[in-house]
């Protein structure tokens, strides 16, 4: 698997924000991040959760135990996470860096992903979870680091969205659309 520059940026950004434990539910683009963490960040521990809500619960425990947790998920999983975020992390001011791989945005082919994908930003705003977007591979590290630093400094749950235009390479010329 060739190294994706945006994924290198995600790893560098979360590491620079002081995170050494990533709890996640995998998706296809995030597999690039996980591979880089495995190969280049031996001091970052990863834990796979069965469901996104569970990942936020584990992250809350990591934080009160002195760690700075990152949660990684696909946008579809934010729906599974809302009760954990709104009734545990936010009221107790337990921070986390949240990296969200987007579905349902520009370039989506699966209509089942569209409603949640298009609602991600309004949902984040409605619950008081600031959401930034990683716009280019070159700026991804700084964006992720900035979201993480702000989250841990201000005890917020901060999200960094990874749009499909960033994570899914365009089809090769002459390839299938």
């Amino acid at each position: 698997m060739p190294v994706a520059p945006w994924a290198v940026g995600v790893c560098a950004g979360l590491y620079a924000a002081g995170s050494r434990h990533v709890v996640y539910v995998p998706d296809n683009p995030l597999s690039h991040v996980l591979q880089i963490l495995r190969e280049d960040y031996p001091d970052v521990r990863t834990t796979i959760a069965t469901r996104e809500e569970e990942a936020f619960g584990i992250a809350a425990g990591l934080y009160v135990g002195g760690a700075r947790p990152t949660v990684m998920l696909q946008s579809s999983g934010l729906g599974n996470s809302l009760n954990a975020i709104t009734s545990l992390l936010l009221p107790y001011r337990i921070p986390a860096l949240v990296v969200i791989s987007m579905r349902g945005d520009e370039g989506e082919w699966n209509a089942a992903q569209a409603p949640m994908g298009q609602a991600i930003r309004p949902i984040c705003a409605a619950i008081g979870m600031p959401a930034a977007t990683a716009e280019t591979p070159e700026t991804t590290a700084a964006t992720v680091e900035g979201v993480g630093r702000k989250a841990f400094d201000e005890r917020l749950v901060g999200a960094c969205l990874l749009p499909r235009r960033l994570t899914v390479p365009p089809p090769a010329p002459g390839g299938r659309a």
């Binding site: 434990h21 569970e54 619960g57 009160v64 009221p91």
Partner: protein
């Protein structure tokens, strides 16, 4: 044994170690049995006490982490047992107060009243040290062993419902800050700034 009596016994055996309680009656009874800084009372997020305990156990491998869950809450997050069974934190003790009902919401039956066996489920998901206890003596023996021997442990304690007699504070940030300070993880002070 009532849940409150069982909680009192648990607190006596936990020493200074952290205890995370599921929302509702388990948290109320933990407060009534003995309010202490190393108690984390959840007021929402039903089902996530065991997940929080797992995260804490991974972050603090030198501490024995106790979780007081309910049967209804654990049934909401059975995947947590699979994750614990995979990570196998030796220092995690998950106690499930199994009264076979959703007591906090009015006493509706849970599946454990109709055959669901949470200790067997835990074993099937990779947690070998999973037992069911029914008497104060069995509980005392199981918790004493779990406080000493490598886990993870799941102790399903069949308890009878008892009306809660107290409730912890609703100041969530206070609960967290006091808890973190008690286990040596006090949050860094963010200094003020002058313009």
């Amino acid at each position: 044994m009532t849940r409150l009596d069982a909680t009192r016994a648990l607190v006596a055996l936990a020493g200074d170690e952290p205890i995370v309680a599921s929302l509702g009656h388990p948290a109320y009874d933990l407060f009534a049995a003995g309010d202490r800084p190393a108690n984390f009372y959840t007021w929402g997020s039903m089902g996530l006490a065991s997940s929080m305990g797992l995260g804490l156990a991974m972050a603090q491998p030198g501490r024995r982490v106790f979780v007081l869950d309910g049967d209804g809450s654990l049934l909401m997050n059975l995947g947590s047992l699979a994750t614990i069974g995979w990570e196998r934190p030796a220092n995690l003790v998950l106690v499930v107060w199994d009264n076979e009902s959703y007591a906090t919401t009015g006493g509706q039956d849970t599946a454990t009243k109709h055959g669901a066996d949470l200790a067997a489920t835990a074993r099937a998901l990779g947690i070998a040290a999973a037992v069911t206890v029914r008497t104060p003596a069995e509980l005392d023996r199981a918790v004493s062993e779990a406080a000493r021997e490598p886990g993870p442990w799941v102790i399903v304690a069949k308890v009878s419902e008892s009306t809660p007699i107290a409730k912890p504070t609703l100041d969530y940030v206070f609960i967290k800050e006091r808890f973190m300070a008690a286990i040596g993880c006090g949050e860094p002070v963010v200094p003020g700034r002058r313009r």
